[in-house]
Symmetry: C2
Subunit: 196 residues, 2 copies
DNA sequence: GTCTATACTCCGATAGAC
DNA sequence: GTCTATCGGAGTATAGAC
């Protein structure tokens, strides 16, 4: 998240057009869905023409892919870090903590991914997301434990998503809700870990 | 779920066209997403023309709405039943059990709703789904409990979804996985209930 | 680095014949 | 109940001027 997202008065600054396209596109994609957002709409918001978009990105798909790649590096780093750690409960807790933080700071993108799964699945990045989710579950999971404990690990991740996406619309302080979701998720993996 | 879903050989039977449109449409919507599925495609699968669809349904949106309304009655009945029950732990367990069953027998529709949230939000049924979800959470929830316990109730529902959608692709027996998810979900609301 | 102008495809939807 | 034919519009994308 960098700039110009909320204002409807795009600066005439030059040279940062690519970044501005990414910002506006993500905002609209998250708001209305990927397919329902047209390039014309993105161009209008930036006060440029459709053709200008094609100077910076080869296709519509390229825009979302570039946003995705720029914004999900924290998760890749998290996975890389975790794979070099001992598979202790504390490591797992740290994974959830950092995942929750990454979601909070990239909220728009995560909302987009959550609400446009059908689209994601057909985009080239869909496979990447799926693999990463599996890897994360792998890192949280107890090997050979009962099925219910494996479900707990998946559920822990989904709880973080649920906390971000669903509860946000109901309760008061988003940060408080995030912490509550993190608590529940941590609780879930703790039980799964101890049942080992 | 009625007929002709899996076969690629549509019967030339007449009089059940409306039903066949619903079946094929849901299948394609769930597979490819709502926006990416065109009426032409649906018509081709049924070996009729686009115009024929318009005899049975006023718009594309009407198709998915009709499927939705025909298939989600079990949930409405569940809510109605639960609202007439005392808010005991056993009632809550029964809610989860029946919700899980409803999801299993309407898997395609639930997959569609899960993966096309952005679309759902702009469809007239989106609001209905959201309200129903809130009502269900309300029924599971402990009044005035700590935030974490409220998250547990939401998380319980999401766990059932996670079990259906995510784990299905990994593990062996779907029914076994469903039971495991139900177990974890029940566990979550039990903790929330007892903390009351 | 951005714009004008344009091409082409496909979509959802309608009118009217059979 | 299904067809042919067609509409208006939007979408992605390109060529070429400035």
């Amino acid at each position: 998240m960098s700039s110009s997202s909320s204002g409807s008065a795009p600066q005439a600054k030059r040279g940062n057009t690519r970044q501005r396209i990414q910002d506006v596109a993500l905002e609209l994609f998250a708001e209305q869905g990927y397919e329902k957002t047209s390039l014309r709409e993105i161009a209008e918001r930036l006060d440029v023409t459709k053709a200008a978009l094609y100077y910076h990105f080869k296709t519509k798909e390229d825009i979302i892919i570039s946003v995705f790649e720029d914004s999900t590096r924290p998760i890749d780093e998290l996975i890389e870090w975790a794979q070099g750690q001992p598979r202790t409960l504390e490591t797992k807790r740290e994974v959830l903590r950092r995942y929750s933080e990454a979601m909070a700071s990239g909220a728009q993108l995560y909302r987009f991914m959550q609400e446009n799964q059908a689209t994601m699945r057909e985009l080239s990045i869909g496979e990447t997301v799926k693999k990463r989710l599996f890897t994360l579950v792998e890192l949280l999971r107890t090997e050979e434990g009962p099925l219910a404990d494996q479900v707990r690990c998946v559920s822990a991740l989904f709880t973080l998503h649920a906390g971000m996406m669903f509860l946000q619309h109901v309760e008061g302080d988003p940060e408080e809700t995030r912490q509550a979701a993190l608590e529940v998720a941590t609780d879930l993996i703790t039980r799964a870990h101890q049942a080992q």
